[in-house]
Symmetry: C2
Subunit: 477 residues, 2 copies
């Protein structure tokens, strides 16, 4: 798969100079990310697009093409494949083909099926691996490849460094949503690798999982799945990979109606949801219910150490959100609000204002809205030093009169200085746009922030479930 994610030369059939066309946006993305290799737009009418010289046909490209991207209307597949046959006979250079266009076998029409067969005939003859059809393409933010036609609405320069999050999706639209939701976060999420596999005419979940297993820049894998036909093969692959790296799956078709819709969509039989659910549980795969839970969980795995257990201390600056969060924690049997030592209680009380609620109930502190920056930070540090605490949820609804920049900087400083290996802190900085300053500073320094208690708890629960799986299967890894 190396040449898919790090190709020497990319040609785009269906390249366009019209900004309202997919074949323009793909080239614009490559330009914006400054892909260092050659980009060959194939367009018979234009001389150049965004500074890249155009070629009338595939056979006119002199340079090497590792990756061929098809965004032209599906009915043109016959001509394009004939040209590709010719090129492969002469140069034999193309290794990967991403067919982004829709209107192939997923339509279940004879025409659609025939188009996909034509595509695959050439691919099989020359050993070209195919991604798609009916997908949005491939991104590698380290090699700066982006064949998608998705505009995230956020300039590339606003993103930080690429994360260790790799995402693969059976649905193009859902992949777009994950891309754009990620881009809309306080600090935009730059995925490591990102691949939309559509109809899986060739490259599928297992091929990619096997590759990501040893891909060094992939620390955690997210998957959107509708269904896969070879359950045994999938289970074996998930098992092997999840012993090394966390896998987070959003699997739809939970309901009979959803499974029916899935069948109409990518044509895949979703199969019994209970079978999938059991397979995920057995193999340490974390199943999530929503797109936001997916991104939250991927970020938590990417940035934080796995907790040693489920003892989760709830450290809140506000009573209401604290109670609300207690309800959320109580919902999960994997999580416990731990009893801490009398010494920790005494030190915690001494670090706070007299009105603070220390450990009523156990494993909970409400430091109150009057808490200063020092109260916030010192108390958290004391909680982290307690041996019976595996992880902490920190909640604050930054009051208008508390300097949030200072709060964020002091929390970062504490996290960097204190030695509490293996103890993730889920920072819930509530209240929307007002706290963007604090969250921005914290996120840029590798802390994991959330905008609501229930989302922080969900991520904490997911980390905890995976940590338990890894602990149970230490010997196998």
């Amino acid at each position: 798969m190396d040449q898919l994610f790090n190709p020497d030369g990319i040609a785009i059939v269906g390249a366009s100079s019209n900004p309202s066309k997919a074949g323009y946006v793909a080239i614009r993305n490559m330009k914006e990310k400054a892909y260092p290799g050659n980009v060959y737009p194939i367009n018979v009418r234009e001389s150049e697009i965004l500074g890249y010289p155009c070629y009338a046909s595939l056979k006119d490209v002199q340079g090497n093409i590792d990756l061929l991207v098809l965004i032209m209307p599906s009915k043109m597949i016959y001509t394009v494949m004939d040209e590709l046959d010719q090129r492969m006979e002469e140069k034999g250079d193309v290794k990967f083909l991403v067919c982004a266009a829709a209107d192939y076998a997923e339509t279940k029409t004879p025409e659609g099926i025939d188009r996909q067969e034509r595509l695959m005939r050439t691919a099989r003859r020359f050993g070209i691996r195919v991604v798609g059809p009916n997908c949005i393409g491939v991104i590698d933010n380290r090699s700066r490849v982006d064949t998608t036609f998705v505009d995230t609405g956020v300039p590339f320069t606003s993103f930080g460094e690429p994360t260790g999050i790799t995402f693969l999706s059976q649905s193009g639209a859902l992949a777009s949503a994950v891309l754009m939701e990620g881009a809309s976060r306080v600090v935009p999420v730059l995925y490591n690798k990102f691949i939309s596999i559509g109809n899986m005419a060739d490259v599928d979940f297992v091929d990619l999982l096997d590759y990501f297993e040893t891909d060094e820049s992939t620390r955690v894998i997210g998957i959107y799945m509708e269904g896969y036909n070879d359950g045994k093969r999938l289970a074996a692959s998930l098992r092997r990979v999840s012993l090394k790296k966390p896998i987070v799956v959003l699997k739809v078709g939970r309901s009979a109606l959803g499974a029916n819709a899935a069948n109409s969509h990518t044509g895949s039989m979703a199969g019994s949801d209970r079978v999938y659910d059991a397979m995920f549980k057995q193999n340490g795969v974390i199943r999530v219910g929503t797109i936001n839970e997916m991104i939250d969980t991927l970020q938590a795995f990417d940035r934080m150490p796995l907790p040693a257990g489920g003892n989760l201390f709830l450290y809140s600056q506000a009573g209401g959100p604290g109670i609300y969060c207690t309800d959320a924690i109580s919902h999960y049997q994997e999580l416990t609000m731990p009893v801490v030592s009398d010494d920790t209680k005494a030190r915690l009380a001494a670090s706070q204002l007299p009105m603070a609620n220390i450990c009523h109930p156990e494993g909970y502190a409400d430091i109150t809205a009057s808490a200063s920056v020092r109260n916030h930070v010192d108390g958290l540090q004391i909680v982290l030093e307690e041996k019976n605490v595996d992880a902490v949820i920190f909640i604050t609804v930054v009051p208008t009169f508390l300097p949030q920049k200072e709060l964020a900087e002091e929390l970062v400083k504490m996290e960097q200085a204190v030695n509490h290996p293996g103890k993730p802190v889920y920072y819930c900085i509530m209240a929307g746009a007002y706290t963007a300053l604090a969250r921005g500073i914290m996120e840029k320094n590798g802390l994991c922030t959330f905008d609501s208690p229930e989302r922080a708890v969900m991520a904490a629960r997911n980390m905890c479930v995976y940590a338990a799986f890894r602990a149970r299967h230490k010997k196998e890894a």
Copy 2:
């Protein structure tokens, strides 16, 4: 309560010229909202704050004071109440008192209890109604009163017209979060009335519910609740009001631990959660689980007509999100994806591209990512005209190559022109910041948008449950 929400003269004890103090932000809020009455900051050291002349003591204010706000440190309550006694003997003008400061009876210390008793002694003697203590204050965005010390981070001028949403909260921090979360939405939410009731030393849920029942600008009521001691009285009030207006409650203390934390917080016994749950169900009160579900549901009730039933058509531009949403709909027994007539199916198919999936499964359409603006709008209109459809979830992940401004404007035009009374449409415009343009246009024109399918479904389910309650109890209203 009229003088609480529309007072003639507001005095603020604890007014400050220091921007990092609550007593400054409250005055800044009043200034920013241009409250047209007199504002009297009480501050012995300053001559003016933000242009408002200061008074050394309550007795120095010559003008009328309907509403007295206390933000000073709690230990000063004795001096302040002595001054208030004197003023009431001489002028007898104060009708309402908002005690925003904390450190009263909620601390359960003899000192805190004594402070609250001192406050209430004067109040009872002169018939002054008290809001708080331990609250963040009161807002009325029509009369432009804002006694809170919360900076939403969004300039007041960015908000639209006041909504019909009235919110009351037992927790100040949670109220702040609701205020700031609302302010952070694509089009910031301006609440109609907003009140944080803290310890409920006097004014409580029932007093306010009774007032909101006939308050014309209140169309829907949101409540954050930890507990209330007189269940019968609360149930009777909820029942009466919810026969006229929807009530949406976020009640915490679901879990034993949460109830324990609630007891430590506002000192109220949360009582058995099952009793509350049954009481809410029986009286048509919509119980929500999260802050976002609360705001979503309040907005839906505020803007849209109640549906006639639970037949919810799912109209999606994308397969993946469509299946994901089908799962969410299937989760609720109140919702059904309806069978539409053959005529509707034929018209719908004729309005779409050949590859569109029309009604597989029933009550579902996937118009595909290739759909134009006209495909989006025309198909939706046809679905709305079908008699077996009570409401629609519309999903689009606006592709980069679809003009989102045009899409939004055409949807607004269609909604304004088409005659389909009583059919709410939940517009799920996915993918974060990129779709802010479309969502902004739609929201400003009264359409209800959501950023994820599960949130749209939740609001649809809540509207449907309440509509059924109203239908069942038509005669009582």
